[in-house]
């Protein structure tokens, strides 16, 4: 069925595109050719623009979806369904006065927005967005050949190190602004990101252990053969997802911005295009976070054999998955209220860190024993261990805390008269 479709539809494009990829591919001995360099440059331009446009569209989607969830309509005037709203916003950002307050550290203040955007964008370099069929190139004779800007062998390490740089933008921006709200936002950003970077990294470790490769293409190839990593490592996938929310400073973890507490957090003093860059950095980080989640745990551009239709199908599958998680970012934001700061820290250090450590330990042990059935029951063991831990905690708290109306010394709400209340 799938092959019939491939022959009918995408098959028609097969030959010219294979020729095109052949031109842009490396030479037979793996050395770079002129066509390869041109191809990579075109790819970089394409991916950069797609990410930027996606970030702009995410602003629109955020406003529309939040409006729908609140029974409103949202921006729908500029262009069809308000789709050109980001352009209007861009125009506004461009022509607003770029205020640099007198009390700021000018150099840091200027480069901080860039430090936020650039790491988020260059992370996308190693994320494979589609795979290939058999190409004429020397490297393309296997089924799984992931297409990405840079096919790094240490893709996972690269991502972890580069996304960690993003925090400098927020912290430096908060510090350089020389105002207390900005500083508090910056400090919160650094503390939060360090806390969740740990869980994020440790959640990836089991994946790397199982695949025994740091190459994201290999991770996807493994998942194409053995099923999505989320089924093998549900705990890691779950913690990774939540850590990504914390890393991108999205609600329920938007401590650095926390507009009800800190005015606007680290970007309080920013205006015009510099503010827009912070905005863009946040949405780009969301895109990259979703792409990472999809690649590491949800099979990347594969979808149960559907990807065999061709490279275009891979792009579609990958985009659909990423877009779903981008929607989930918005969805969660308008559902769950913000955590308190100590709750956030406790969740990071007190719950996620031990859980990920246990997860790494159990996975490594199961791999060391090298028995297939242990790997199969591992997800169940992990979920069961969480439930048991939660149950023990619940029982302990049941003993410790009494409901307010039962506790001794508490006057029930109805019993107090006016005189007693004043006395």
């Amino acid at each position: 069925m799938i092959h019939a479709l491939a022959n009918l539809g995408l098959g028609m494009l097969h030959q010219p595109i294979a020729f095109l990829f052949g031109f842009f591919d490396r030479a037979g001995d793996g050395s770079a050719t002129f066509g390869w360099v041109i191809g990579k440059i075109l790819l970089v331009l394409l991916v950069t623009h797609v990410i930027l446009i996606l970030a702009a569209l995410m602003v629109w989607a955020e406003r529309r979806v939040s409006a729908w969830m609140q029974g409103r309509l949202g921006p729908n005037r500029v262009g069809p369904e308000g789709l050109l709203q980001p352009l209007a916003d861009l125009g506004k950002f461009m022509f607003k006065e770029d205020v640099i307050p007198g009390h700021v550290h000018k150099v840091m203040y200027t480069i901080a927005p860039l430090i936020t955007v650039i790491p988020a964008m260059i992370t996308f370099a190693v994320i494979p967005f589609t795979g290939s069929f058999e190409t004429s190139g020397a490297t393309g004779d296997t089924f799984i050949q992931s297409w990405q800007i840079a096919d790094l062998n240490i893709g996972v390490l690269y991502i972890l190190s580069v996304t960690g740089l993003g925090v400098y933008g927020l912290t430096l921006g908060g510090w350089a602004s020389n105002s207390k709200y900005s500083l508090l936002g910056g400090v919160r950003a650094s503390a939060q990101m360090i806390s969740y970077e740990l869980s994020l990294g440790l959640a990836v470790v089991p994946v790397v252990l199982i695949v025994s490769s740091l190459n994201l293409g290999d991770v996807i190839a493994w998942q194409a053969d053995n099923g999505w990593m989320a089924f093998h490592q549900p705990l890691a996938a779950f913690i990774f997802m939540i850590a990504v929310y914390a890393e991108t400073n999205r609600l329920p973890f938007d401590m650095p911005e926390a507009e009800t507490e800190l005015v606007a957090g680290y970007h309080t003093e920013y205006s015009s295009m510099k503010f827009a860059l912070f905005f863009m950095g946040e949405y780009t980080a969301m895109t990259v976070g979703s792409a990472l989640l999809v690649t590491l745990f949800l099979g990347g551009w594969t979808f149960f054999g559907l990807e065999q239709l061709g490279w275009a199908m891979g792009v579609l599958i990958f985009s659909a998955k990423v877009l779903f998680f981008l929607f989930a970012f918005i969805w969660v934001r308008w559902t769950i209220p913000r955590f308190r700061y100590d709750q956030l820290m406790w969740l990071g250090w007190g719950i996620f860190l031990p859980l990920t450590l246990v997860n790494v330990l159990l996975t490594a042990g199961a791999l060391a024993m090298d028995q297939a059935w242990i790997m199969w029951i591992l997800p169940l063991v992990l979920i069961a261990s969480i439930l048991i831990a939660a149950w023990i905690g619940w029982k302990r708290d049941e003993k410790k805390f009494q409901p307010l109306s039962d506790a001794p010394g508490v006057i029930p709400a109805g019993a107090a008269t006016g005189e007693e209340a004043s006395a």
Binding site: A67, W68, M69, G71, T335, W391, D397, G414
Partner: protein, 168 residues
């Protein structure tokens, strides 16, 4: 001071409550369902709000069903107006009318008007009414001062049973 108070016993948190995630998933379900429900927004310039009969919009002057401007320039509304939005200069009518007085100038400053409706209450002639006009705009300050002719035009004709000046 015997307030009727119903004491509600606090529910102990169950195991599912402690897991948090069932509650979060329920919340996500609620927001997702909300997305497809009817939107409350009114697309303003295209859709307009229809006001009730008792709505207190902009004050206007009316004529009776014989086409006679009802205002007799008694200046009661001018006196009662809290923000002093009304300015009246009276004059004598000499065209054989049974009514001897009318306004030469009746200016209503809509930048000042607070829509309190006291002018309508004070008027002994039932000549000024709170209309259903809720959109009042002007490009300049001058545009926001409404003169007699405009006020009569907005008010139109209001029929009434009692013809107070008919046979005087």
């Amino acid at each position: 001071m015997t307030a009727k108070v119903k004491l509600v016993k606090r529910r102990r948190s169950t195991f599912l409550d402690r897991l948090y995630f069932p509650a979060i998933v329920t919340g996500l379900g609620i927001t997702f369902k909300r997305m497809f429900k009817k939107k409350e927004t009114m697309q303003f310039p295209e859709e307009r709000w229809t006001v009730r009969e008792q709505y207190r919009g902009m004050p206007v002057l009316v004529e009776d069903d014989e086409g006679r401007p009802k205002c007799v320039a008694c200046s009661l509304c001018e006196y009662v107006c809290p923000p002093k939005a009304i300015y009246i200069v009276g004059r004598e009518l000499e065209d054989g009318n049974t009514v001897e007085r009318g306004p030469a100038v009746f200016d209503l400053n809509m930048l000042r008007c607070i829509y309190c409706g006291l002018c309508e209450e004070a008027c002994p002639e039932e000549a000024i009414f709170m209309s259903e006009t809720y959109m009042v705009w002007g490009a300049e300050r001058e545009d926001m001062i409404f003169h007699k002719e405009k006020l009569y035009e907005l008010g139109g004709v209001r029929a009434q049973g009692v013809k107070k000046w008919k046979d005087k």
